[in-house]
Each structure stands twice: as structure tokens, then as C-alpha cells.
């Protein structure tokens, strides 16, 4: 069994459910004290995949991305980005789609798009217009584990590919 540590970043407009999604997924040890001041909080979730322990270090960025100078520093050294939007707010989808491209820039980053608050839509609502990997609900827990697991898997796979080259 070997261990890896990976930094992933959650971005998305205020209120789309970034913090709630992390709460669903990890046991939180730290208070919100710093979150509002420095605009980020770090959490951890360890996922075991076959013979690899992946420690996901999840950075929850508060507020609007790219406006705060420190945010550029927060993005450094990350292996993956999760762009989150609120399925009931199409504007949050547009915004995050653009931000994600900007944030990624030329970096070799894994990124996925996630539509959250799926519990608020009834079955008849058409969500095919959204191009994203997962629809989640931080409220019911739907797809939350799966989404983070997928990220861990993809990151480990990426490493293996890198090793073979």
C-alpha cells in the first residue's frame, strides 16, 4: 500500500453548495474562523483505491474566484479542480464554465464540472443542456461520494500513465 497526497480545488459562485458538499464528504475538524478572512479552508478525505491510499486535500475557496490576488496562490500545486454550479441557477453554470477555462490556463489540470442541488429539480426538468460529469445533492448526499471518488481515481490513473512514459 502506498500513499499519495493530492490537492484539489473547489470553485463556484457563492451559494452553489461548495461548502455543503465538503461537509457531506468529510468530517470537519476546523472551524469557519479563517474561512471568511482568508477566503479558503482546507479539508481532507482519505480514499483507498486498490493498493493506493489517496489523501485528498480539498481546498474550498469562498466567494468569487479570480478577484482576490491570494486566490492565484491558492490554486498553485493543485492536481484537480472541481467547478460547481447550482442547477437551479443557469447563470452559475455560465460563470463557472468560463472561470474553469481561465483557472486551468495552460496547466495540466484535471477538471470536472458538477451540477449541485439536484434535489430541487423535479424529474421533468430538462438538464441535458448542462455539460457536466455529475449531478449531486449535498442535501440528500446523492452522488457526493461518487464524485470525489471519481476524482481520486482519475488522479491516480494520471500518475500511473506518467510513470509508464
Amino acid at each position: 500500500m502506498h500513499e499519495v497526497r493530492k490537492k484539489i480545488i473547489l470553485i463556484g459562485s457563492v451559494g452553489v453548495g461548495k461548502t455543503s458538499l465538503i461537509r457531506r464528504f468529510v468530517h470537519q475538524e476546523f472551524t469557519d474562523e479563517y474561512h471568511s478572512t482568508i477566503g479558503v479552508r482546507v479539508d481532507k478525505k482519505t480514499i483507498t483505491l486498490d493498493d493506493t491510499k489517496v489523501h485528498l486535500m480539498i481546498w474550498d475557496l469562498a466567494g468569487e474566484i479570480l478577484q482576490n490576488k491570494a486566490y492565484q496562490a491558492y490554486l498553485k500545486g493543485s492536481s484537480g479542480i472541481i467547478g460547481i454550479f447550482d442547477v437551479t441557477r443557469p447563470a452559475s453554470y455560465q460563470l463557472i464554465n468560463e472561470s474553469l477555462q481561465n483557472v486551468k490556463g495552460s496547466q495540466e489540470l484535471l477538471s470536472i464540472m458538477v451540477g449541485n442541488k439536484i434535489d430541487l429539480l423535479d424529474e421533468t426538468t430538462d438538464i441535458h443542456g448542462y455539460d457536466c460529469e455529475y449531478f449531486t445533492s449535498a442535501k440528500t448526499g446523492e452522488n457526493v461520494e461518487e464524485m470525489f471518488n471519481l476524482i481520486a481515481q482519475k488522479l491516480v490513473k494520471k500518475d500511473e500513465k506518467f510513470k509508464r512514459i
Binding site: K7, E29, V40, V42, D43, H55, A73
Partner: protein
């Protein structure tokens, strides 16, 4: 009048000369002091009477706090005083915690935090080696396993990034963070840095020992770091090396100071 009171016993124990003593003597002493304090507490269970007693022996107790007394005793006393304080405030409705606190303040002429600072010999809790970009933990030396060092490393990195950005124009990087009763000293080396979490004062002796040891260690492992392609996997090996090295630092620190 009684013969030897518990507080006399305690004083006589504490006012001995400890400088010649070995660690085992200290342990024996610690047990005796503990017993003595317990006796004292049992006997003087009323807060007011306890306060009077301590007040009467104020000057002797301040002697006890004089610098030549061993660290163990000092920390121990601080802890015990804190405990007594707490017990008093927990068990009495009449006396609010603040009341008791101000009483102690009057007795010792110091606020509790100042008192701890006065007693405050530096003590290393953790030394974390952190990747400067990602905030990922590269290795750690831990004296207690209370905190999740991965999260702490990440949070430091965020705080540091934030502060460095904010002070950008002043041209100085953040290097000492205060967090509750802890202080965190940062040593930056290119793409990595160390965060030393400690309690007590960042005294010149402490600075000296810490700087030397961290520099030496970095010299030793720099090849290792360069050769390691994937920094994300370095942690356990590096932690072993750090454990070996910084256990010495703690020992030297204690020897130098006492």
C-alpha cells in the same frame, strides 16, 4: 497551630536545589509535589481559604517561579495552578471564573497568559515540512498526534499565501504566526518550507538551535528532495528522517535551557 502545613511541605519540596538532579529525581519529585498539592486541595477545599493560603505564601511562590528552577516544576506548577483555578471555578457558584481569575491576578500580579509566558520555555510540538506551492505535507516530526498535520499544513499554506500577498509591497514574507497558545515559525528554503509549531517564547537560544538544526537537516536531505520525482509520495520516508533529527533538537533544547 498545626505543625507542618501542606503548603509548607510543598514549599520545602519546591525550594530545593534541582540543578544537580537527574531525570529520575525529577520524576520522584513530581510525584511528591503532586501528592502534596492533592493534600493541599483536600485540606483547603474552600476557595476563599485557599486564596488566603496562597496569598500568604505569595512571595515564596514567586521565588518558586524564579528562572533557575527546573522546567518540569515550572510547567507542572503552571498546570496545577490552572487546574486548581478551574476546579474552584467549576465547583463554586459564588465565584465566577472571572472573579477567581482576577483574584489570582491580584495574587501573582499577572494575567494567566502572561504567567504562562513567564514560565514559557519553548517546547516543540511539531515540525512540518511543506511544499510551498501546494501546501501538501512532505514530512513531519510530531511529539503528539493530536492534530491532523495534513490539514494544518494546508491551512498554514493558505494563511501564508494570504499574508504574503497582502504584504507583497513591503517585501517581507510572513515568518511567525500566532495561533491561540501556539506559535508557528516558518523557515523557507526555495520550494519547501518548515513550520515549527511550538509553545513558549521564541528566545534567542531557541532560535539558534532551531536555525542550526533545520539548516543542517536541509543540507542533508536536499539531494533526496531533488531526486524524488514525485513530491506527493515523499512523506513517510521524510518523516522518519525528520524524527531522527529533531528528536535531538528537543533534547538539546532542554539541555541548553536548563
Amino acid at each position: 497551630m498545626r505543625g507542618i502545613t501542606p503548603i509548607d511541605e510543598l514549599k520545602s519540596l519546591l525550594l530545593q536545589d534541582y540543578r544537580q538532579q537527574t531525570e529520575r529525581d525529577f520524576e520522584k519529585l513530581r510525584v511528591k509535589v503532586l501528592a502534596s498539592i492533592e493534600k493541599l486541595e483536600k485540606e483547603i477545599y474552600e476557595p476563599e481559604r485557599l486564596a488566603v493560603h496562597i496569598s500568604k505564601s505569595k512571595s515564596q511562590l514567586l521565588d518558586i517561579l524564579a528562572p533557575e528552577i527546573g522546567k518540569l516544576i515550572k510547567n507542572y506548577l503552571a498546570l496545577e495552578i490552572e487546574k486548581i483555578q478551574k476546579r474552584i471555578s467549576d465547583t463554586t457558584d459564588k465565584f465566577s471564573y472571572n472573579n477567581v481569575k482576577s483574584r489570582f491576578k491580584a495574587l501573582f500580579g499577572l494575567e494567566s497568559k502572561e504567567r504562562i509566558d513567564l514560565l514559557g520555555f519553548p517546547e516543540i510540538i511539531d515540525i512540518l515540512m511543506i511544499d510551498k506551492d501546494s501546501g501538501l505535507l512532505l514530512g513531519k516530526f510530531s511529539t503528539e498526534e493530536k492534530i491532523d498535520t495534513d490539514i494544518v499544513a494546508g491551512m498554514f499554506n493558505a494563511i501564508k499565501s494570504f499574508a504574503d500577498t497582502a504584504f507583497e509591497n513591503e517585501g517581507n514574507e510572513l515568518d511567525l504566526i500566532h495561533y491561540n497558545d501556539y506559535k508557528i515559525k516558518l523557515h523557507v528554503f526555495g520550494s519547501i518550507y518548515y513550520a515549527t509549531i511550538f509553545t513558549g517564547r521564541y528566545s534567542p537560544e531557541f532560535q539558534d538551535i532551531l536555525n542550526t538544526d533545520i539548516n543542517n537537516f536541509t543540507d542533508k536531505i536536499s539531494k533526496e528532495l531533488i531526486n524524488q520525482q514525485n513530491k506527493e509520495q515523499i512523506t513517510s520516508k521524510m518523516s522518519q528522517l525528520m524524527n531522527k533529527e529533531f528528536t535531538h533538537t528537543c533534547t538539546r533544547l532542554e539541555r541548553r535551557l536548563f
